[in-house]
């Protein structure tokens, strides 16, 4: 492409022909040797009885260093080919690994799970639609559908988006230092794992019988106001709301941060013009700010909907899916890992895929529109 055809530009002028060949074979050898060494090291690290800290450190060095080494060797290896070959091989080295990994870890498994969903627990006998009958009619799944759609999607996403919007708009009107503090506090839960958040909120919801010192914040407030303490997480139907509250606590910060950036990008002149025309702040927000950040609202909403439909950690750690709090992803996990019914687990996974399909299609259209300039 660039240097091969013109000897004058070639760096290794002394051995015009043999140099690329030599270098190429050496690099090919080095690549094969590295793969072998990395493979041996992997087996050694997997089976070795060494101190945990050493294994962890060695694993990090092995993983990070190994992938860098392989890329360096391969990229330099293909550079030794004649230009015509190189034109095909270079993209392969650059884009190939990513494409291969995504196909192996996402595209093919989706197909294999689809096939699996028509087979029995161990994946041996064809059972037709039996697993889907389970996925659409069993009590567990019906409860999951209600919870995922009514509670997690509607309440969870709705409140996160609206609260995020409110905080972003209001904080924008306060002193910059105050604004920064508010945003940091609301955003902070994003850094916490859902399991960690569950421990935090278990403490808020903790229930002790009436008359005993309440150590859960919610019941303490309730009894201080003269009410009876309640077992928040054990009350069917309503307990879902208390789980969703954790989700809102975690997700509002994400919505707020994106909205805040979008709001600050709305030109001040536009808002001033509205105010001069006599619009009050609410009207300015509804008619100028909101239409201007529509795109962000849409993206944030779809992102949070995806998280809500796939919710797993909070339910698994707070109630384990008991007391009417079951969700689709937890049924999938339970079928796969507790009951070892791969067929049913696969069918439930396909249901989960079907549920998010509209959003996927919307996103795909969006991508193909954005990449038209390719």
């Amino acid at each position: 492409m660039r240097n091969g055809t013109e000897p004058s530009l070639r760096r290794s002028r002394r051995l015009p022909m043999s140099s690329p060949l030599m270098k190429g074979s050496l690099l090919a050898l080095a690549t094969v040797f590295s793969v072998w060494v990395l493979g041996r090291t992997f087996l050694f690290l997997r089976d070795a009885a060494l101190p945990q800290w050493f294994l962890a450190l060695a694993a990090i060095v092995w993983g990070v260093g190994g992938s860098m080494l392989l890329f360096t060797l391969l990229a330099n290896f293909v550079e030794q080919f004649p230009p015509r070959w190189r034109r095909g091989l270079v993209p392969l080295v650059f884009v190939g690994p990513a494409a291969a990994i995504v196909v192996i870890y996402l595209a093919l498994p989706a197909l294999r799970t689809l096939i699996q969903s028509f087979y029995d627990a161990k994946g041996e006998n064809f059972v037709g639609l039996a697993n889907y009958v389970y996925a659409f009619t069993s009590q567990e799944m019906l409860v999951s559908f209600r919870n995922n759609f009514l509670f997690w999607l509607l309440f969870g996403t709705g409140f996160s988006v609206i609260l995020g919007l409110i905080v972003a708009v209001l904080a924008d009107r306060t002193h910059p230092v105050f604004e920064r503090i508010v945003k940091a506090v609301i955003f902070m839960p994003m850094a916490i794992s859902m399991v960690g958040a569950s421990v935090i909120w278990k403490f808020v919801y903790e229930y002790r019988p009436a008359g005993v010192n309440q150590i859960g914040l919610l019941n303490a407030v309730l009894t201080a106001l003269g009410g009876e303490p309640r077992a928040w997480l054990l009350t069917p139907f309503w307990n879902n709301l208390f789980l969703v509250a954790i989700f809102i606590w975690l997700q509002t910060g994400f919505a707020m941060v994106v909205f805040s950036a979008a709001i600050k990008a709305v030109p001040e002149e536009l808002l001033e013009a509205g105010r001069i025309d006599g619009a009050n702040e609410v009207q300015v927000f509804l008619h100028i700010t909101l239409p201007n950040i529509r795109g962000s609202v849409l993206t944030v909403t779809t992102t949070i909907i995806l998280v809500a439909l796939k919710i797993f950690d909070i339910v698994q750690s707070m109630t384990g899916g008991n007391y009417g709090t079951q969700v689709i992803a937890n049924v999938q996990y339970t079928q796969m890992f507790r009951l070892f019914n791969y067929g049913r687990a696969a069918a439930v996974a396909m249901v989960l895929l079907a549920v998010v399909l509209p959003i996927m299609i919307y996103n795909l259209r969006d991508f193909s529109k954005r990449t038209e300039a390719f």
Binding site: R2, R11, R46, Q52, W53, A56, G63, V64, F71, T72, N76, R87, V90, P91, F94, A98, A99, I101, V102, Y105, A107, P109, A110, T113, Q116, L170, R173, H175, F178, I181, A184, I186, M188, P189, A191, I192, S193, V195, G196, I200, F203, V204, N213, I215, V257, A261, K264, A265, E268, Q316, S317, A329, F337, Y342, A349, M350, N363, F367, T371, F374
Partner: protein
């Protein structure tokens, strides 16, 4: 940031109307609600076990004379001796191993996808080849596929080839699940680097590899940092992938798994849970507050631009 120009700030600060007071009041109310649960956990983690069990954490503030503080909860959680001896009841807790395991999972699970995604993003942005757009849409379009769909086939493969329960298996899984977003974010950034910056390098006969490592990688640092923050928090906080691919043995379990285990088997040992939860939160919170700028940029990159 035109809103924070001196003139507008001046205008905003000029007088306190009832409306402005209401705005501050609402925000302060929300901030208090948002921070109280975490504050409760932090305070509790420093209280003696019997205090945590018998009274609410706020009594530290309401009855200051009776407030007692201790580091014992953290010692129990980390398997350190308390008053010269290790409590046999908590011998199995040992979160110090889980911290190492979390690091061993999270660091390569962050670096490997970034490397692969940056290479691919460069390929998509600056190398012409047939099928480029189609391949890009395939990779990025898989972003919203629920990873639950992949678990069973991958798990079966792992068991077959002996990758189950290994770090390598988890790294590759995290790489696979994180790649679409990584490629998308990094492509957005790398494709906007002006071409003339490396045009001259091309003319000098530099290879794609040289241009990528010498020019593109250093120039992309902000984008790499924002995805790194994102992916690190994601992999550190992940529960599902760890449960599925690492579950076999408690010596390889990560913090989130151990914490979930503690909630089950030590559900009434509140003091232990509080310390454990806080231990699991220290690193992500530090990363978060240090790199918040990059994290925010990563989050908003895809969403703000229409």
């Amino acid at each position: 940031m035109s809103r924070n120009s001196p003139a507008s700030v001046q205008r905003r600060k000029s007088h306190l109307t009832p409306g402005r007071i209401l705005v501050y009041a609402i925000l302060i109310f929300l901030v208090v609600i948002w921070i109280t649960p975490t504050l409760g956990l932090l305070v509790s983690s420093f209280r003696p076990a019997e205090d945590v069990r018998s009274t609410g954490w706020w009594t530290v503030f309401t009855q200051q004379s009776e407030a007692r503080f201790t580091l014992d909860n953290y010692r129990y959680a980390l398997g350190l001796p308390v008053q010269g001896q290790v409590n046999p009841r908590y011998k199995t807790v040992g979160l110090q191993n889980a911290i190492l395991n979390s690091l061993a999972v999270a660091i390569p699970s962050t670096v490997i996808p970034i490397l692969i995604a940056a290479i691919a993003a460069y390929g998509f942005a600056w190398i012409r080849f047939p099928g480029r757009r189609w391949l890009f849409i395939l990779i990025v379009g898989l972003m919203s596929v629920p990873l639950q769909v992949s678990l069973i086939p991958i798990l079966r493969d792992y068991i077959k080839i002996g990758l189950n329960g290994t770090y390598l298996g988890v790294w590759l899984a995290h790489t696979g699940f994180g790649l679409p977003l990584a490629v998308y974010l990094l492509y957005n950034y790398i494709s906007t680097i002006p071409r003339d910056i490396f045009e001259s390098a091309f003319i000098d006969g530099a290879s794609h590899f040289t241009i990528f490592t010498r020019l593109i990688l250093p120039l992309s640092t902000p984008a790499l940092a924002s995805f790194a923050t994102f992916q690190f928090l994601w992999t550190w906080n992940d529960l599902l992938v760890a449960l599925v691919f690492l579950s076999a043995d408690s010596s390889t379990q990560v913090l989130t798994q151990r914490l979930l285990g503690l909630m089950g088997s030590f559900g009434q040992d509140w003091h232990l849970l509080t310390a454990g939860a806080f231990i699991s939160m220290i690193l992500p919170l530090t990363v978060f507050f240090l790199l918040q700028r990059y994290f925010v940029r990563g989050l908003t990159a895809g969403s703000v631009k229409e």
